[in-house]
């Protein structure tokens, strides 16, 4: 929606826009902001600028593109039956948006609009009826996936909420935020059950283990912490400085034995859990690895980065077995 502006400004805008395109260094490499594997192991979804790329998980051949997102796609979540994909983003400082896609037909089945800022995490509930979103606007929201209507808002965090995870039974939702806390919510009532306050700086990523009994969280204080999730509280099991700079993403292996972390210190580290014993450091990452996801068979994990590079590491030896350059259809 354009607001009328003085002639001088319009001329200046045109002039500067033109000069920007003259000076631009060429179309930027398509950056990777998020990744997700479909639970059936067939599809790898890559969240990019304004679109989602779908690749065959095994061959890495392109399967299709999901276009039309308003800006960067910052979070992806498949429904448990692998039939639907939620792709979340929005416009920074303005609004949040989620498009729910039908994976088979590549058609959009619903759009969710809300939040006052871009959405950083989206998660399908295990039963597929609800999606949870969290945003820079400090709120967590629950939405009906059929109608796209908001069910409720969970208001308690006092800073951007970057990460969400349902427990495998779908009864509880966990959120990790820049306010240094992880909160545990009852999905049916929206009640905040308890807060984990041990982190000493903002949280970027949380991961619930496959059994739903533990949660790991990490962020700006460079440490990984693991708690045992109980009925009314959580018990801190491990706390360890793991990296030399902020930790960006955590991923829990499907067999629950391994935790992988990526960091702004340009490394990816592999730990055996729950003792958090370091198994491997994969150094010399070309850029910040925002996205880290295990393939459902647990044999590999994918790392997607700010500079558009994608690596697939196998868990025996941690070699990068793929040289993948994603293409843009724009």
């Amino acid at each position: 929606m354009r607001v009328a502006m003085p002639f001088v400004q319009r001329v200046a805008q045109v002039f500067f826009a033109a000069s920007l395109s003259l000076l631009a260094a060429g179309p930027p490499k398509p950056q990777i902001f998020s990744l997700a594997y479909s639970p059936d192991g067939k599809v790898l979804a890559i969240g990019q600028y304004k679109e989602v790329q779908l690749l065959d998980a095994r061959t890495r051949k392109p399967l299709g593109t999901l276009p039309g997102h308003v800006e960067v796609v910052r979070s992806l979540s498949f429904s448990k039956d692998s039939k639907r994909l939620a792709a979340a983003g929005g416009v920074a400082g303005v609004k949040g948006e989620v498009k729910i896609w039908d994976v088979a037909t590549l058609a959009q089945s619903a759009t969710v609009s809300g939040h006052y800022d871009t959405i950083y995490a989206v998660a399908f509930s295990p039963d597929g009826n609800t999606i949870a979103t969290s945003s820079y606007d400090k709120f967590v929201k629950l939405w009906d996936t059929q109608t796209g209507k908001e069910i409720r808002t969970l208001k308690d965090h006092i800073d951007a909420v970057y990460s969400l995870s349902f427990t495998p039974d779908g009864k509880r939702l966990l959120s990790g935020a820049a306010d240094r806390t992880i909160k545990v919510w009852d999905t049916a009532t929206g009640e905040r059950l308890f807060t984990l306050g041990e982190p000493t700086d903002g949280i970027n990523s949380i991961a619930v283990d496959p059994t739903g009994k533990m949660v790991a969280a990490a962020g700006l204080d460079k440490s990984i912490r693991i708690w045992a999730l109980e009925a009314k509280s959580a018990r801190l099991l491990q706390s360890q400085i793991a990296h030399e700079d902020a930790i960006l993403k955590l991923a829990w292996s499907p067999d629950g034995a391994t935790l992988v972390s990526s960091s702004a210190d340009r490394t990816i580290k592999v730990f055996s859990v729950p003792q958090l014993t370091e198994v491997k450091t994969i150094a010399h990452q070309p850029d910040w690895t925002y996205a880290l996801e295990f393939a459902p068979d647990g044999k590999t994990f994918a790392a997607g980065r700010y500079d558009g590079s994608l690596s697939i590491y196998d868990v025996n030896g941690f070699r990068d077995i793929a040289e993948v350059r994603t293409a843009s259809t724009r």
């Binding site: 500067f16 395109s21 000076l23 303005v94």
Partner: protein, 713 residues
């Protein structure tokens, strides 16, 4: 302005845009917690961190590589998206262009190969203008690749005296009133200042300067400054004023009545010079300055045991007695090891045990720099960086303190390991004194020695300026840099040429405090009257007249005891101990506390307060201290009465003793009348004696509570 070859540089172009636009100031995103989840380093002191925050943090929300104009970092400051910080620049501005073009170029990162800024230059460095006049400043940055750039529009400007000169964001100065102001410049963690002078609109004849006595180089430089400002100096003081003033400023005591009479009667032309020499040889001179340095070094039994306090004080006292060179005095603290009982100086390390405390105290006490701000970020007012803070702190990370044979003794030794980490980098910095050279982290030499060498080097201007300013300010009533303990680069002296000359003289002649004091006291600038003439009523900075000041608490108490002949009792000390001889600021005395004796908790000159208070007034009017001494049967009033002296003689003696001068004829008449009238017409001899005594006590009370007594003028 054309885009430079190679594009806009993040460190040298983008960061200055963020700084000048106020994005990274302390009130906004430079705050400790940032704003709205977006935190930049304060005034861009760490470009590498800022780069990650801008491009990659929060999953890259702030910069849109595919569509630069829609980057949040451009939408917010131009208010395309609501922004708590308001409009910072417009889309057609150079600020916008630099950011937008830098994004379009793919946000090139800062690199260690970037040219580094070495320093700033300003033109003009000084300007003399009439009120209403304007001056545009031009600021040039010099870089490590030998290039220069005009950075005038990116500098942050400030005036230290808006009443004289104000400055706008573009570096245009406007003169608002007469006097002198320093316009300080801040750019890229470098600081500088330009001096703006506006002479007063006085008619001062040339002879006022040429005929004014000049006793030494101090006078040449003071008069030159006064001439440039069109301020006429006040005249020289008469002998009586000089005598009292110089006694108080040199030794903290009043001259006795006999000393007053002798000096006033002396006809020799060089009697003032001789008096200064004699005062500098007195025990009281040693006591007075030992007390001052004990203030500086925080000698107090609050944290030290009484015997340790005494040992620390004794070392200071002996050092003043020997007129120990200041650099040697300082070096002794930092290069000694062993028992704090045998070497009182080492108690310094019992008072300041950790590297943070040592860093901040050492820089304040011996360099006149306030480093505390740099503990968390680059200093906003000076050139010190957080890295330098922790480089300095690591000089003090190996000071070992262990118990000695008895509880009041500690042993100071140099440990061979131990480091303090930089809080963000999480590793220790190579020990480096502020702008000195580093020593290797793995060296096991005593790090304090390395520090002491730099500290006391003749090249270390801060070291000399700090002590010179403290001595100068004590004698002249105001430091060349004000406050007296703040000689940072952005707090320029009121007369920089003078400050430089006195410091140079001091260093070249062996850091000799006694000589420095002698030089200052002998100058005509010191011996000026406090009375204003038509031109210098408002001047308290340029030494056109003596700055009147209240006597410090201890001097006041001692003077009262001296005039009344009744010493003040101090618990645990022999009778007759003067307040200025107390080795410990914890010795109980309500009088001293009420009148602003420093608690010696932090090294800050403002600990000694001379602010007036109700408590002080009440203490003088009703308090025990003065009243008990007045009526003491062993005191001088009783003595003078017992000797059978007349009212006139008593008045004369008390005036000589308290005011250092003879009473005027008018005073003699008035006092005689008042005392006469106070005698009752009738009554027994006892009652008459009593009434007379009361009257005399009242008279002396009035003298001792008058401004003439309580102030140094």
């Amino acid at each position: 302005m054309p885009t430079p070859e190679g594009g806009w540089n993040f460190r040298n172009h983008v960061i200055p845009v963020l700084t000048k636009s106020g994005c990274n100031q302390g009130a906004c995103h430079g705050a400790l917690a940032g704003k709205g989840g977006f935190k930049l380093t304060l005034r861009g002191y760490d470009p590498e961190v800022d780069y990650d925050v801008l491009t990659r943090q929060s999953v890259g929300r702030r910069i849109n590589l595919a569509d630069p104009a829609n980057s949040l970092i451009l939408r917010k400051p131009t208010m395309k998206t609501p922004h708590g910080g308001g409009l910072r620049f417009k889309p057609n501005s150079l600020e916008y262009r630099i950011l937008a073009e830098w994004i379009a170029a793919g946000t090139p990162a800062p690199s260690p190969k970037d040219k580094e800024i070495l320093g700033l230059e300003v033109q003009p460095k000084k300007a003399t203008l009439a009120v209403g006049g304007e001056q545009q400043l031009k600021v040039t940055a010099r870089y490590s690749d030998n290039s220069t750039a005009d950075v005038t529009r990116w500098v942050k400007y400030n005036s230290n005296n808006e009443g004289v000169a104000s400055v706008d964001d573009s570096g245009r100065v406007k003169i608002n009133g007469s006097g002198e102001a320093a316009v300080t410049l801040w750019y890229s963690s470098r600081v500088l200042y330009a001096t703006m002078t506006s002479p007063y609109p006085n008619q001062v004849p040339a002879e006022a300067y040429s005929k004014f006595p000049r006793r030494n180089y101090i006078d040449d430089l003071v008069l030159a400054k006064l001439k440039s400002l069109n301020i006429q100096p006040s005249g020289e003081i008469p002998d009586a004023t000089f005598l009292r003033r110089v006694f108080l400023d040199t030794a903290g005591i009043l001259p006795t009545a006999e000393e007053v009479e002798q000096f006033l009667a002396d006809k020799s032309p060089d009697k003032r010079v001789k008096l200064i020499d004699a005062l500098l040889e007195r025990e009281e001179y040693v006591d007075y300055w030992a007390y001052k340095w004990s203030d500086l070094l925080l000698v107090s039994s609050r944290k030290l045991r009484p015997t340790a306090t005494r040992a620390f004080y004794n070392w200071i006292h002996e050092s003043v007695q020997q007129n120990k060179r200041w650099d040697q005095f300082t070096r002794e603290i930092f290069t000694s090891t062993g028992s704090t009982r045998q070497n009182g100086a080492l108690n310094y390390f019992v008072l300041h045990k950790d590297p943070i405390d040592l860093t901040e105290n050492v820089t304040q006490a011996f360099l006149g720099q306030r480093l505390t701000c740099a503990r968390c970020h680059n200093h906003p007012l000076e050139k010190w960086t957080q890295k330098q803070y922790y480089q300095m702190a690591n000089l003090f990370s190996r000071v070992g303190v262990k118990n000695g044979d008895d509880p009041s003794e500690s042993i100071i030794f140099a440990k061979t390991s131990g480091d303090i980490n930089h809080p963000r980098l999480l590793r220790p910095m190579a020990p480096t004194p502020l702008d000195g050279t580093s020593m290797p982290l793995d060296s096991d030499a005593d790090r304090r020695e390395h520090f002491a060498k730099w500290l006391t080097s003749p090249k270390n201007e801060m070291f000399a300026r700090n002590v010179v300013n403290r001595v100068w300010g004590t004698l002249m009533g105001k430091g060349l840099a004000d406050p007296i303990d703040d000689v940072r680069a952005t707090n320029p002296a009121s007369n920089e040429e003078l400050f430089a000359a006195v410091s140079k003289d001091y260093v070249e002649h062996g850091y000799d405090n006694k000589r420095l004091i002698r030089t200052i006291l002998n100058s005509a600038a010191y011996q000026r009257a406090a009375d204003a003439n038509g031109t210098n009523k408002d001047d308290n900075r340029f030494y056109s007249k003596y700055v009147i000041r209240r006597l410090p608490a201890e001097v006041m108490l001692d003077a009262t005891s001296q005039v009344l002949g009744v010493p003040t009792p101090f618990g645990g000390f022999p009778v007759g101990t003067r307040a200025l001889q107390l080795p410990d600021s914890q010795v109980a005395s309500q009088f001293l506390t009420v009148f602003g004796r420093p608690a010696r908790i932090i090294c800050d000159a403002s600990e000694r307060s001379s602010d007036p208070s109700i408590g002080q007034a009440l203490h003088i009017i009703n308090g025990d201290t003065l009243n008990k001494k007045l009526s003491n049967p062993e005191g001088y009033i009783s003595l003078l009465l017992r000797l059978g002296l007349s009212d006139a003689r008593i008045v004369e003696h008390m005036t000589l003793s308290a005011f250092g001068r003879y009473p005027t004829d008018d005073e003699r008449q008035q006092m005689a009348k008042a005392l006469g009238e106070s005698r009752p017409a009738k009554g027994t001899a006892e009652q008459q004696k009593d009434a007379r005594r009361q009257a005399l006590e009242d008279m002396v009370w009035a003298m001792l509570t008058s401004k003439e007594f309580l102030f140094n003028h």
